[in-house]
C-alpha cells in the first residue's frame, strides 16, 4: 500500500467524518428547533474532517520516510541476510534488486544472492503496509471521535475551522522561508566540508581548474581546484558577450515598441519577443551548438583563424544574449513608462525631436531602472546552465579569445555532479562551493537591483 493509497484512505475517512458531523449538527437542529446553532452544520463537518485528515496525513508523511528503513532493518535482522557481503557496493546492489522485485518494479532476479532475499522483503513490506494502514485508521478514528464528541449546539465550529485555515495559510507562506533556508544551509554545509579539504584561498584565487574525480580523497591536490578560470568564463560569457548583444538590442527594442511602433505593429512584435522569452533554454542550447557554433567556426576559418574550435564562448554568449533580449526589453519598457509624461511633453514642446527627447530626457531619467534591469539580466545570464553546457564546453581556459572553448560555474556544477566521483569526493563537493558562490552573487545582484528600482520608483511618485 503506497502513501498515495493511505492518503486516499485518510481522505475517505475524512469525508465520512464530514458527513457524520454535519448530520449530527442537523440532528441538533431537529431536536431543538428553537435553538440556534452557533455555526452552520457544514462547519461542524469541516471541523471533524480536518481533525481526521490532518493528523493522519502527518503520520503518512512520516511513515513514508521511516517505513522503508524499518523494512530494511527487519530484513537485515533475518537469517537470509547473514550470507550478504559485509559492506560496499555489492551489498547495496543485492538489497536494491531484491527490494525492487518484491515491490514488483522489476520482473526477475539476476543476482542469485538476491533471490533468497525477495521473500523476506515481501513479507516485511507486507507487514509494514498492514501496520501503516492500521495505524492510519486508528489515528483517524481516534482524533475523529474526539472531535466528534466535542460537537454541541453551542460549539463554535466555524471559529475553530477558521483558526485552522489561518494556520494553514501561515504555514504555506513559511514554505518560502524554509526553501531559502534549505538552500542556504545545504549549500553552506557542503561548502564547509569542501573547504575542509581544499583551502578557500586557493579555491577563490587559484588559476588552474582540473579536478580529478578518480583521485584519492586522502591526499587532495589543492592546486587543481582554482576557480578563477570558471569565474572568468562566467563573467566573459554571461556579463560581457551576452550583454554586448542584449543591452543595445533590448533597449532599442523597448524604445521602438513604446515610442515609435504603431499599435498594429506592436500587436505583432511584442508577442514575438514574448515567444523568444518562453523558449526553453535547452532549445537555445541546441540551437547554439547545432547552428550558431559551426557557423562561427566556419567564418573564423574563412578569415584565417585556424585554431577556432566548434565549441566557443562566442556562440554561447551570442545565443545567451538573444535569450536575454526580451528580459532587458521588458525591464527598460517598465522604467521608460515610469518617467512622468510631463518631462517628455516639456522636451517636445521645446522643439526637440522624438529621438532627442528619448536620448536626452527619457533614457537619462529612466537610467536607474535600466541599470537595475541590466543587473537582473546579468544575474540571470550567469546562472544560466543549458546554453553553456551545450555550447561553451568543459575545458577551463583563462583566455580573452572569444573563439576558444570556455567553461562556466554552472557547467562545472553539472560536470562535477553528473560525473563518476563519489558523493564525499572534493570534486563533487566543489559543485556545492561553486553553487554557493553563484547563489551569493545572484542574490547580491538581485537585492541591489530591487533596491535601485524601489528608490527610482519613489523618486517619481
Amino acid at each position: 500500500m503506497s502513501p498515495a493509497f493511505l492518503l486516499l484512505l485518510a481522505f475517505g475517512l475524512g469525508l465520512a467524518g464530514w458527513l457524520a458531523a454535519r448530520a449530527r449538527a442537523f440532528g441538533f437542529r431537529r431536536a431543538q428547533p428553537d435553538l440556534r446553532l452557533l455555526a452552520l452544520p457544514a462547519y461542524h463537518g469541516w471541523y471533524v474532517a480536518l481533525w481526521i485528515v490532518i493528523p493522519a496525513a502527518m503520520f503518512i508523511l512520516l511513515w513514508s520516510v521511516i517505513a522503508p528503513q524499518l523494512v530494511m532493518q527487519s530484513v537485515l535482522a533475518g537469517p537470509e541476510a547473514a550470507a550478504l557481503p559485509a559492506f560496499g557496493f555489492q551489498r547495496e546492489a543485492i538489497l536494491a534488486e531484491a527490494r525492487a522485485v518484491a515491490l514488483g518494479n522489476a520482473g526477475a532476479v539476476f543476482n542469485p544472492a538476491a533471490r533468497e532475499l525477495v521473500e523476506p522483503f515481501r513479507v516485511a513490506i507486507g507487514r509494514m503496509n498492514m501496520a501503516g494502514a492500521a495505524v492510519t485508521i486508528a489515528i483517524a478514528i481516534l482524533t475523529g471521535t474526539w472531535a466528534f464528541l466535542r460537537l454541541k449546539p453551542d460549539f463554535r465550529a466555524r471559529n475553530r475551522v477558521e483558526r485552522g485555515v489561518m494556520v494553514m495559510l501561515l504555514l504555506a507562506s513559511l514554505v518560502a522561508i524554509l526553501t531559502t533556508l534549505g538552500i542556504f544551509v545545504s549549500l553552506v554545509f557542503e561548502t564547509v566540508r569542501f573547504f575542509g579539504m581544499v583551502d578557500p584561498l586557493s579555491f577563490l584565487f587559484g588559476t588552474t581548474w582540473s579536478p580529478d574525480p578518480m583521485s584519492s580523497t586522502e591526499a587532495v591536490d589543492t592546486s587543481r581546484y582554482g576557480a578563477i578560470p570558471l569565474f572568468w568564463g562566467t563573467i566573459y560569457i554571461g556579463a560581457i558577450i551576452a550583454m554586448i548583444v542584449a543591452i543595445p538590442l533590448g533597449l532599442m527594442s523597448a524604445i521602438y515598441l513604446t515610442q515609435y511602433a504603431s499599435p498594429a505593429w506592436r500587436k505583432w512584435l511584442k508577442p514575438a519577443l514574448e515567444i523568444l522569452a518562453g523558449i526553453p533554454t535547452v532549445v537555445y542550447g541546441y540551437f547554439a551548438a547545432l547552428t550558431v557554433a559551426p557557423e562561427i567556426r566556419d567564418i573564423a576559418l574563412s578569415i584565417g583563424i585556424t585554431n577556432a574550435s566548434s565549441e566557443s564562448a562566442l556562440a554561447a554568449g551570442l545565443v545567451m544574449g538573444v535569450m536575454i533580449i526580451p528580459f532587458v526589453s521588458s525591464m527598460a519598457d517598465d522604467s521608460i513608462a515610469a518617467v512622468p509624461q510631463a518631462m517628455r511633453d516639456g522636451s517636445l514642446a521645446m522643439g526637440a525631436t522624438t529621438s532627442e527627447t528619448i536620448r536626452r530626457v527619457l533614457v537619462p531619467a529612466a537610467l536607474p531602472g535600466i541599470v537595475a534591469g541590466v543587473m537582473l539580466a546579468i544575474s540571470r545570464a550567469i546562472g544560466e546552465t543549458m546554453i553553456v553546457v551545450m555550447a561553451a564546453g568543459y575545458a577551463a581556459n583563462l583566455s580573452a579569445n572569444p573563439l576558444e572553448t570556455m567553461t562556466t560555474v554552472t557547467v562545472q556544477i553539472v560536470a562535477m555532479l553528473t560525473g563518476e566521483a563519489s558523493f564525499d569526493h572534493p570534486a563533487t563537493l566543489s559543485a556545492f562551493a561553486l553553487g554557493f558562490v553563484l547563489f551569493l552573487v545572484t542574490l547580491g545582484l538581485n537585492i541591489v537591483a530591487l533596491r535601485v528600482v524601489k528608490r527610482f520608483r519613489e523618486a517619481y511618485e
Binding site: 536494491a96 507562506s173 532599442m252 553563484l438
Partner: protein, 415 residues
C-alpha cells in the same frame, strides 16, 4: 531695439536636416533591433522545423512475411500477456523475420534490416493475432546506415543498394507512427519520446499538486491577512529572491535534501516534481498576489458588511474573482517548469531510461532532458530526432501559453 533675426537661416536649415536624419537613423535602429530578434526567432524555429520534419519520419523496409507458413502457433490468450514479445522471441520469430527479409529484399537488403525490427513484427502480431494465419506485409525499421544511405550519405555500395531498394518500392521514408509511442533507445531508428513525455507529465503533476495550493495559500496570506512586521518582510524578501535564484541552485537543493532523505528515488518524477515545485511556487505567489490585489476593496467591504467572517470574505468572494489571474500565472509557471532541464540533471534524471515510468517513484526522464541527452549523440539520425522532440516540446508550451492567454482574455475583468 534689436532687429528680429530671420530664424530659418541656411545654418538652421542644415542643422534641422541633420537632426531629422538623426531621427530617422534612430528610428531605423530601433526597428532593426526588434527585427533582429524576430529574425533570430524565425531562424531558430525554421532550423528546428527543417530538421524536425525528418525526425518524424524514418526509413522503413517493406517485408512480406507469411506467418501462416512459418509454423508459429500461439494461443491468443498467451499473446494478451505482458511478456508476449518474449514468448514470440522464444518461438524464433527473429529468425522467421530474417528469412522473410531475405526472400523479400535479397541477401544484402536483409542485412540492412534493423536488428530489432522483429519486435515491430511481434507487436503487429500482438495487436492482431489473426495476422499469424496469413501473409502480412509490414514496414520494418531499416538500419541507421541504410537510412543515411537513402539520404545519399555513406559508402557508395550502400547508397546504390538504397537506390535499388527505393526504386523497387521496398525502401521508403515513412511517417514514423511509433515515434510518439516508443521510449529511449540506443538506435536513432528505434527511439521514441513517449517515455520522456510520460515522465514530464508525472513530474508536472507533482509540481502542480505541490506548488499550486501552497502558492495560492501563501499569496492569500500575504495579500489579505499578513500583519506588517519583520516576519512578513522576511517572507516577502525570500519569495522575491527565490523567483530570481538560478534554477540549477534548486537542483543542488533537491540533491542535498530530497535525495538524502529518499536515496532510492533517484531520478524519480516525485523528486523532480518536488524540486520544480519549489522553483514554481514563487512564480505562482507573485502572480497570485497581483491577481488578488486587482480585486477591488468594495467587494471585501460589501461581504464584511453583511456579516461574512474574514475567512469567508476571502474564500467565498476574493479567491473566486482572483482565480483566473492566478490560473494564468500558474500556467505560465508550469510552462517554465516544463522546459526546465538543469535542476533535473542534478537529481539524476540523466540516466538512460528505456521504459516509460510506471509510477511516481520509478526512474524516469523528461522531455527537455531527453532533448539534452539526444543532442549529445554523435549519430546523424539523432539530430533529426532531437529537433522532432523539440518541436513536440514547443507545441506543448504553445498550447499552455495559448491557454493562459485565452484565460486572461476570457475572464479578465476590469473593475
Amino acid at each position: 531695439m534689436n532687429a528680429v533675426l530671420p530664424t530659418r537661416t541656411a545654418a538652421f536649415e542644415a542643422r534641422l536636416k541633420k537632426r531629422y536624419a538623426a531621427e530617422r537613423r534612430f528610428k531605423a535602429l530601433g526597428l532593426g533591433a526588434i527585427l533582429f530578434s524576430v529574425a533570430v526567432l524565425a531562424l531558430l524555429l525554421g532550423s528546428m522545423m527543417l530538421n524536425g520534419i525528418g525526425g518524424f519520419k524514418r526509413a522503413e523496409l517493406t517485408v512480406t512475411i507469411d506467418f501462416g507458413a512459418s509454423g508459429i502457433v500461439v494461443d491468443p490468450s498467451v499473446l494478451a500477456q505482458a511478456n508476449a514479445v518474449q514468448t514470440l522471441e522464444a518461438l524464433e520469430l527473429p529468425d522467421i523475420v530474417a528469412l522473410a527479409a531475405r526472400n523479400s529484399l535479397g541477401e544484402d537488403g536483409a542485412a540492412q534490416l534493423n536488428s530489432q525490427a522483429w519486435r515491430e513484427a511481434a507487436q503487429a502480431i500482438v495487436a492482431d493475432p489473426t495476422n499469424l494465419s496469413r501473409e502480412v506485409t509490414l514496414d520494418l525499421a531499416a538500419t541507421e546506415d541504410l537510412a543515411r544511405a537513402l539520404d545519399g550519405e555513406g559508402p557508395p555500395e550502400l547508397v546504390s543498394l538504397a537506390e535499388r531498394l527505393a526504386s523497387a518500392g521496398k525502401l521508403e521514408e515513412n511517417f514514423d507512427t511509433g515515434f510518439l509511442g516508443r521510449s529511449d533507445a540506443t538506435d536513432a531508428q528505434l527511439v521514441g519520446i513517449w517515455g520522456a513525455l510520460k515522465g514530464s507529465m508525472l513530474t508536472m503533476l507533482i509540481t502542480l499538486a505541490c506548488a499550486f495550493p501552497v502558492g495560492v495559500l501563501a499569496a492569500l496570506y500575504l495579500e489579505e491577512y499578513a500583519p506588517k512586521n519583520r516576519w512578513t518582510d522576511m517572507i516577502e524578501v525570500s519569495i522575491n529572491n527565490l523567483a530570481a535564484v538560478p534554477s540549477i541552485i534548486f537542483g543542488l537543493l533537491g540533491l542535498a535534501v530530497f535525495l538524502t532523505i529518499f536515496p532510492s528515488w533517484r531520478s524519480a518524477p516525485l523528486i523532480g516534481g518536488l524540486t520544480l515545485a519549489l522553483m514554481t511556487m514563487p512564480v505562482i505567489v507573485i502572480a497570485g498576489r497581483n491577481a488578488i490585489k486587482a480585486v477591488p476593496p468594495s467587494i471585501r467591504d460589501g461581504a464584511l458588511a453583511i456579516g461574512a467572517s474574514p475567512v469567508q470574505v476571502v474564500f467565498h468572494h476574493v479567491l473566486p474573482l482572483a482565480l483566473p489571474g492566478i490560473l494564468t500565472g500558474t500556467i505560465i509557471g508550469m510552462a517554465r517548469a516544463l522546459g526546465e532541464t538543469a535542476p533535473l540533471l542534478m537529481i539524476g534524471m540523466r540516466a538512460f531510461v528505456a521504459t516509460p515510468p510506471d509510477n511516481l517513484t520509478s526512474p524516469a526522464t523528461v522531455l527537455p532532458v531527453q532533448i539534452f541527452l539526444w543532442s549529445d549523440e554523435i549519430d546523424r539520425g539523432f539530430v533529426e530526432r532531437t529537433s522532432a522532440a523539440i518541436i513536440v516540446l514547443l507545441l506543448f508550451l504553445l498550447v499552455m501559453n495559448g491557454l493562459a492567454i485565452y484565460l486572461r482574455n476570457r475572464f479578465e475583468k476590469s473593475w
